[in-house]
Symmetry: C2
Subunit: 255 residues, 2 copies
DNA sequence: CATTGTGAATACGTTCACAGCG
DNA sequence: CGCTGTGAACGTATTCACAATG
C-alpha cells in the first residue's frame, strides 16, 4: 500500500496539467451561468473575471483542450460547456456512495449541486443500526454490512468518506477492495491507498489553520505600520521571528 | 473590489512558501498523534510517512522554519509541535463565526476538530427567523441583523460562509465591512473581496469533478490495455465513456 | 482590429544527492 | 554513523507579450 499519493506522478498521458484540470470546473460553472442567461459568446477576459482567474491563464488552460475559440470574437458558450463537460467526464453518470451519515454526510446528501452534473447518490451507508432504514434526503440509509454489495451492484467507482477519523482507513480499504477507485475524504486522516486509486481530501481544520497563518501575518504587518510616523512606502516588516521573550516550553493542546 | 484573489502574490515577506504553509497543519496533526503516544523524537522519514509526504519535502519545509532537528537523531516532537503551532498562529485564540446554519453549517458547528487548535465558534448566524434562538451544538443561532455587532463585539477576523450561493457575496461583503479579513467559503460561488482579505474555498462539486476526470482517464487506459490478449488483472467495469459515436450537440444540465 | 493561441521568460515547487554535524 | 539541512537540478505553473487570424 502506497501512502496517500494523490495522483499518478509519472504518467505522461495526454497531459492536461493538473492545475488546469482543477480549474475546469470553475470555468464550467461560470459558463453554465452564462448559458442560462442565454449569452451566446464570451471573451477570455470576461470569462476569466467570472471565474476569478486572469485571462492569460484561462487561454492557456483552454489551449490544452484544443482551439475552441474564435479570434476577434471569443468563445461559444454552449460549445465550451459541452467540451469541458466531456473533458471532465460529466457526460456520463457517476454513481457515488457516501459512507458515514452524521451531520456532514447528511449535509452532503442534501447538497443540491451533487445531483446535478452527472453525480448521483447511489447509496448512503452507515455503521449505526439506528440509522439504518431512515431516509436522508429521500434516500434510505443502508447498513455498512451491505457496502460491498452496494458498490458492485451499482458499479460505484467514487466513494465519499464522512466517517469519524478512527474508522476512515478501514472504510477506505473496504471501498477499494469492493472496487472504488476514487475517494473524496472528509475525515481528518491521511488515507493509504494502493496505486491507481485517487484520493482527494477536504479538511476544514487545515483550511482554518492556513487562514490563521495569514491572519497572524497581517496582524504583524499592521503593528509594524504603526511604528513609522511618515507612512513608509513599502516598509514591510513581517512579524519578525521574535515571538516575544523567548520560546520556552510548549503548551500543547489536544488533537 | 478585486476579483477573488486568494493570496497576496507579490509580497516577498519572510517567505514561507505557500505550499509549505499548506502542509504544516498536516505535520502538526501527525506530531500531535505522536505526542499523545508520548513518542519523544521522530525522524523525517517516519514523520513524512505519517503525514503522507516524502521526507525530502518535509525536511525542506522545516528548513524554512529554522533548524529544529538534531542530526543523527531526528526532531523533538513536543518542540516541533510548539514551533509549528506558533508559526501557524495557533497559540492564540481565533473566534470564528459561521453564517448560514443549514445542514452544512450545523455539521461544522458540531465538528469537534473545530474547537481544538485555538478556533472557537463565537457565533452562529442565520437569516431565517425560524432558526433564531435555537441551539446548534450548544450555541444559540443569532439573526443576521446582528452580524455587524457580533463581529465587532467578539473581535472576529475569520468568517465561514455556508449560505446558499445566491447570498454568499452579499454576506461576504457584510463580513468584510464589519472587519473580517479571512473567509472560508463553502458556497459554490466566486467571491469578490478587497485587497488584504483572504478567501479559501471548499467546493464539493469541484472535487468530485476532478475525481471524475481521473476516473474517466483510468477507464480509457483500461480500454487500451484490453487490446492485448492477456487477461487484464483488474478488469474493472467502468461505465465506459463513449456516449455515442461523436459528441454532437450538448445536453446541458442546470448548475 | 479585437481577441485568440502560444512560444519564451519567469516564478514556484519538488526532488536529488551529499556535505555537515551531533 | 545516521540523519538533518541545503545547494543545485529538475519539473511544473504562471505570466508576458505578440504574431496569427477570423
Amino acid at each position: 500500500m502506497a501512502t496517500g499519493r494523490t495522483h499518478r506522478p509519472a504518467t505522461r498521458s495526454r497531459g492536461i496539467p493538473e492545475a488546469t484540470v482543477a480549474r475546469l470546473p470553475l470555468y464550467l460553472r461560470a459558463l453554465t451561468a452564462l448559458s442560462e442567461r442565454s449569452v451566446p459568446t464570451v471573451s477570455s477576459e470576461e470569462l476569466a473575471a467570472a471565474a476569478g482567474v486572469n485571462s492569460a491563464k484561462l487561454r492557456k488552460d483552454f489551449s490544452y483542450l484544443g482551439s475552441y475559440g474564435t479570434r476577434g470574437v471569443g468563445y461559444d458558450v454552449e460549445y465550451l460547456v459541452y467540451q469541458i463537460s466531456r473533458e471532465l467526464g460529466l457526460t456520463q453518470d457517476w454513481p457515488v456512495v457516501i459512507v458515514g451519515i452524521g451531520n456532514l454526510g447528511a449535509a452532503l446528501a442534501n447538497y443540491g449541486g451533487f445531483a446535478s452534473r452527472g453525480f448521483r447518490v447511489a447509496a448512503l451507508i452507515d455503521a449505526d443500526p439506528e440509522m439504518t432504514g431512515r431516509q436522508v434526503a429521500g434516500i434510505p440509509v443502508q447498513h455498512s454490512d451491505e457496502l460491498e454489495k452496494i458498490i458492485s451492484d451499482n458499479g460505484v467507482s467514487i466513494g465519499v468518506i464522512t466517517t469519524p477519523p478512527g474508522v476512515a482507513q478501514q472504510v477506505c480499504e473496504r471501498l477499494v477492495a469492493a472496487g472504488v477507485t476514487s475517494i473524496l475524504n472528509f475525515a481528518p486522516t491521511v488515507l493509504s491507498v494502493p496505486d491507481g486509486v485517487d484520493v482527494r481530501k477536504v479538511d476544514l481544520s487545515i483550511e482554518l489553520q492556513i487562514l490563521a497563518f495569514h491572519e497572524q501575518r497581517k496582524a504583524g504587518e499592521e503593528a509594524a505600520a504603526q511604528e513609522s510616523a511618515v507612512p513608509a512606502p513599502a516598509a514591510r516588516r513581517v512579524n519578525t521571528t521574535d515571538q516575544g521573550p523567548d520560546g520556552d516550553v510548549p503548551a500543547v493542546m489536544p488533537a
